[in-house]
Symmetry: C2
Subunit: 327 residues, 2 copies
C-alpha cells in the first residue's frame, strides 16, 4: 500500500492512504490520525490500512484528488533519521573531491551518520538557502522506515523490520563539510533539513524490484528541468539496507518510525549520470582539471522520482525549488 | 515548575507535574497527555501547568508519592538529541587520551554531534552492555529543551527558546570511538541510548544559578557508591547554551522538544573530580604513565544529581546500574 501525510494545519499532518495509481487518496482518522501513530501500532493498523487501500483501488471508496502541494513529508518529523553511504562509487568520488581518502574499511564497515529529524521537508517545500557560499547540493537517495527494532539484528532477519520504503533528497551544504569533518564530530550544519517524496510504500508494492534489501530500479533526477541522472539503486548498493540495519543495531535499539537512508545513489557507469552535484564536479576535475558545474543557487529546481516497470511513479515526486531565505 | 513522565504502559508515558520538593506529583491528562504535547503547545499549556504546580506546592492538590522507578525519561523519545562538548578541559583531556589533537577552532567554533533520540533511558533504567570490550563510560551533563526554534538565532536572543533544563548521562562506548571517528562521519555505535534524570525544570526554578546560558551549580557524580566528581557546570562552560543554540541554528530550524546537551561537565581543578572515566584514565596516564581505572562492567552503579543551594535535588537523580545484555 501507499501512505502519505496531508496538511491539516497540525505539525504531524493527517495520515492518508493513496491509491496505487497515486491519483487519489483518503484520510483514515478513525484508524490512525498520523503515520507515526500507525507505525506505533503497526501490527494492528497495517491490515486495516491495507483494507482501505484495496477499497480505494477498487473504487469502493471514492478518494480525493492527489495534489502534490497538499502533502507534507510522510513523517513531517521523525524520531531518527540515519543516513548511510552505501554506494562505493559515490564515496570514492566525493572523498576525492575534498582531497580525502576513502576509509580503509570502505567495503567492510558501513558508513552512517545521524541526521537531524525534527524538521523534514515535504515534496514541494522550497529549499531555503541563507547563503549561496555554503555550496548547496542535492543528494537523491532511497530510504526505508523501520518498525520497532531491537539491538543486535542480523542481516538475515532484518527484512521484517522494514515496514516502508521511500525516496529522499538529503540536502547538503558542501562547503561546510570540510570544516565540520576536521572537527571530527561528523556532519551537523552541513546537513540542513532533508526532503521526502509524498508516499512511503510497503515493500510488496515494489514486487521483485525489492530484493536482498535493495531497490532494483533507477532513481531519476532532473536538475533545472533536465535529466541529470538515472542510476540503478540496486546492484551497486554495496551494503544492503539489511546490512545497514545490522550495523546500526550493534549497540542500541530503535523506535518505530526511524528512517534509514541509502546514501547518494551512484553507478560506476557514467552514462547513468549522477544523483548529486559533487560527483559531477569531481568527474569534471578528473577529466578536464576544471570544475564547471556550480552548486545550486536560488531559482534552481530539483526533481527526484522512481518509476515502476510500467513507467508509473511509485513514491510520487520530490519537486523542489531553491529560494533565498531561512527556515 | 518541575515536569516529569510517569509510566502508564504507553511509549511516551504520561505527563506529571512534580512538587518543588520532588516528593509528590500529579498527572495532568486534561491539560496535556505527554510532555511532547505540552511542548508542542507551550505558550498555551505552560501557564496551565504552572497553576497546577502552585496548587501542588500549596497542598491544594494532594499528589501521589514520587518513586524514581515510576519515572521514564521526561521525553522517552525526542525528535532530536544534540550534544555539545562545551567544556574545554574535557575536550583537551579526552582527545589526549585517544592521541588526537584538539581542533584548531577549539575556542571559537563549538563542537556538537547529532545523537540518537528515538530511545532515551529513564533515571533507573539499566545500562545494558552486550560487550564489556566496548569500554562503557558515563558522561554527566546538563541539557536544555528547546521550544520551536527558527534558523539563525543569535546568542543574545537564544534565552527565550530554552523552555526546560535537565541532566543527562550520555553513555559512551569509548573503545568504539577511534574506529568510528577514523571513518570521518562522527559517533554512531559508540553512543548508545542516553539516560535522563526524572524531572525537567523551567529555568526560573534555578534562580540566579541559571545565568548567561549556563547552570552555575556543581553536578555531582557517584560511581560505585563513592563520590566521583562535583565540578561546577557554570564558569568553565566555554560555549554557553545560548552559543550552542546559535551554532546549531546556523542552517536549520528545530521542533519543540529538541534536547541540547552541554557535553561532559569538567573543571580544571582536579580536586573537583571528573564526570566520566575517560578523563580520570587520562589523568592517570599523564601522572603515572599507567591507566588504572577500568571502564564500567556489569554491577557498577552510577548516580548523577544536582543540588540547589539548600541541598535539595533539583532534577531528581539518575541512578543506574550496568548489566550484561542488550536492548
Amino acid at each position: 500500500m501507499k501512505l502519505g501525510t496531508v496538511k491539516n494545519g497540525t505539525r504531524d499532518g493527517q495520515l492518508a492512504v493513496i491509491s496505487k495509481s497515486g491519483e487519489s487518496y483518503t484520510t483514515v482518522t478513525d484508524i490512525a490520525p498520523t503515520l507515526q501513530f500507525a507505525l506505533d501500532h503497526w501490527d494492528q493498523k497495517a491490515p486495516q490500512l491495507e483494507a482501505i487501500y484495496r477499497d480505494l483501488n477498487e473504487g469502493k471508496i471514492s478518494g480525493q484528488e492527489v495534489e502534490l502541494a497538499k502533502f507534507m513529508a510522510p513523517l513531517p518529523r521523525a524520531y531518527e533519521w540515519i543516513d548511510g553511504s552505501a554506494y562505493i562509487n559515490h564515496i570514492v568520488l566525493v572523498r576525492k573531491a575534498r582531497g580525502a581518502k576513502p576509509p580503509e574499511t570502505l567495503e567492510t564497515d558501513p558508513l552512517v551518520y545521524q541526521g537531524g529529524s525534527g524538521v523534514l521537508l515535504g515534496p514541494t517545500d522550497d529549499i531555503k538557502l541563507a547563503n549561496p557560499e555554503w555550496g548547496c547540493d542535492f543528494e537523491s537517495e532511497v530510504c526505508v522506515v523501520l518498525g520497532d527494532t531491537p539491538q543486535g539484528v542480523k542481516p538475515e532477519v532484518a527484512s521484517k523490520y522494514v515496514k516502508l520504503i521511500g525516496i529522499v533528497n538529503d540536502v547538503s551544504l558542501r562547503n561546510l563539510i570540510p570544516g565540520e569533518l576536521a572537527k571530527n564530530f561528523g556532519f551537523f550544519n552541513s546537513k540542513p533539513a532533508s526532503a521526502f517524496a509524498p508516499f512511503f510504500v510497503t515493500p510488496d508494492e515494489l514486487g521483485d524490484a525489492w530484493r536482498e534489501g535493495r531497490v532494483h530500479l533507477p532513481l531519476i533526477t532532473h536538475y533545472k528541468g533536465e535529466k541529470y541522472g538515472d542510476p540503478d539503486a540496486g546492484p551497486e548498493m554495496h551494503f544492503s539496507f539489511f546490512d545497514l540495519v545490522s550495523h546500526i543495531t550493534k549497540t542500541r535499539s530503535y523506535t518505530a518510525g526511524t528512517i534509514l537512508g541509502s546514501g547518494t545513489v551512484s553507478n560506476e557507469d557514467r552514462a547513468r549520470g549522477s544523483s548529486c552535484l559533487a560527483e559531477k564536479r569531481m568527474i569534471e576535475k578528473i577529466d578536464d582539471g576544471e570544475i564547471r558545474t556550480p552548486f545550486m543557487v536560488a531559482g534552481d529546481t530539483i526533481r527526484i522520482e522512481m518509476l515502476d516497470k510500467n513507467g508509473a511513479s511509485i513514491f510520487g515526486a520530490i519537486d523542489q525549488k531553491v529560494v533565498e531565505g531561512s527556515n
